[in-house]
Subunit: 146 residues, 2 copies
DNA sequence: AGCATTATGTAGTCCGGGCTACATTTCACG
DNA sequence: CGTGAAATGTAGCCCGGACTACATAATGCT
C-alpha cells in the first residue's frame, strides 16, 4: 500500500517504534532507580537501610521490597547479608547520585513554572525517569535564567 | 525504636508512599493510553487500525499487540471482530482525545523551553503519562505567555 | 480459480513486580 | 537471660507485557 509516500511531514514510523521502545526501557529501570534513591537516602539519614523502611517509603509490602532488592543485588547495584540491612555498590551509589540530582532538578523546574510544591513532588516521581539529558539540560538552563 | 521523633523537617513518609503508588498507577495505564492513541491515529489517517500496523508503530510483535488489544476490549476501550481491524468505544475515543491533547501540549512545551524536536517527541512519550492536570495547566500557561 | 504471501489469531514461555501466608531470626525489655 | 514482638526472609500465587512458534484466514496476482 505504500502509505508513507513522499510527505513524511511527521511521525516516521520507525522512529516512533524506537521512541516507544525507549520509553519501555525507561519504565523498566524506573523501579531500580527509585530503590537506590531511597536506599541512599536512608543510608545518609539513618545510617542504615532496612527492607521494612524501604518498603514503607515505597508503599509496598516488605516481601516485594526484599524481592526487588534481590534483583538490585543480581544487577550489581546493591549488596546485603541476611538480617543486616542493605548497602549500595559503587555502581549503586553513582546511580543514586545521578537519580537524586535529576529528581531535584525536575522538582525545582516544575516549581519554577508554577506547579504547586506537592504536585511537583508527585509528578517528578514519574517524570524524572523519562527526562533525557538534553531535556534535563533545558530544565537547568531555564532555572539558571530565572 | 521510634526513628521519626519530632523533626520531620521534610518528606513525610506516608506522602512519599502515596506518590510512588500513583506513579505505579500511571505506569500501569500508560500502555493502554499508547494503544488508544495509536489506534485513533490510524483510524483517522488510514480509516482502519490493523493489529500489525499497531504493532509496528509500537515496536512490538503482532502477538503482543493482539493480546494487549484483548485487554483493551476487556476494559471497554476497544472492540473488534476477528480479522476485521480494531475500533474504539466511546470511552476509548474520549481517552484517545485526552491523551492526544496532553501529548501535543507536552511536546510543544518541551520545544518551547529549547528541547530539540526529536528529543521532545521522544521524552514526551514517557513524560506525558506522568503529567498531572495541574502541571499540564502550568505548561499551557507557559505556552500562552511565550 | 488457485496458490503464495501476508495478516491474524492462539498457545505456551519468561520475567517483573505486586500480593498473602508462613517461617525464621533479632532484639528490647522485663 | 529468656521471651514475645518486630523485622526479615521464603514460597507460592497472580497478572501484565514481552517473546517465539505454530495454525488459520484473507488477499493479491497470475
Amino acid at each position: 500500500m505504500v502509505a508513507m509516500h513522499m510527505v513524511e511531514q511527521d511521525s516516521a514510523p520507525p522512529d516512533e517504534a524506537a521512541r516507544h521502545a525507549s520509553a519501555r526501557t525507561a519504565r523498566a529501570s524506573a523501579l531500580a532507580q527509585d530503590y537506590v534513591e531511597i536506599i541512599a537516602d536512608l543510608l545518609a539519614r539513618e545510617g542504615e537501610a532496612r527492607p521494612t523502611d524501604i518498603a514503607r517509603r515505597l508503599g509496598v509490602t516488605h516481601a516485594t521490597a526484599i524481592k526487588t532488592i534481590g534483583r538490585l543485588k543480581r544487577d550489581g547495584l546493591a549488596h546485603s547479608k541476611p538480617y543486616r540491612g542493605v548497602f549500595l555498590t559503587e555502581a549503586g551509589h553513582e546511580l543514586a547520585q545521578r537519580v537524586r540530582a535529576r529528581h531535584l532538578t525536575v522538582v525545582a523546574f516544575l516549581a519554577a513554572i508554577g506547579v504547586p510544591p506537592q504536585v511537583a513532588e508527585a509528578d517528578a516521581e514519574g517524570i524524572e525517569h523519562h527526562v533525557s539529558d538534553a531535556t534535563l539540560a533545558a530544565f537547568e538552563r531555564f532555572l539558571a535564567n530565572a
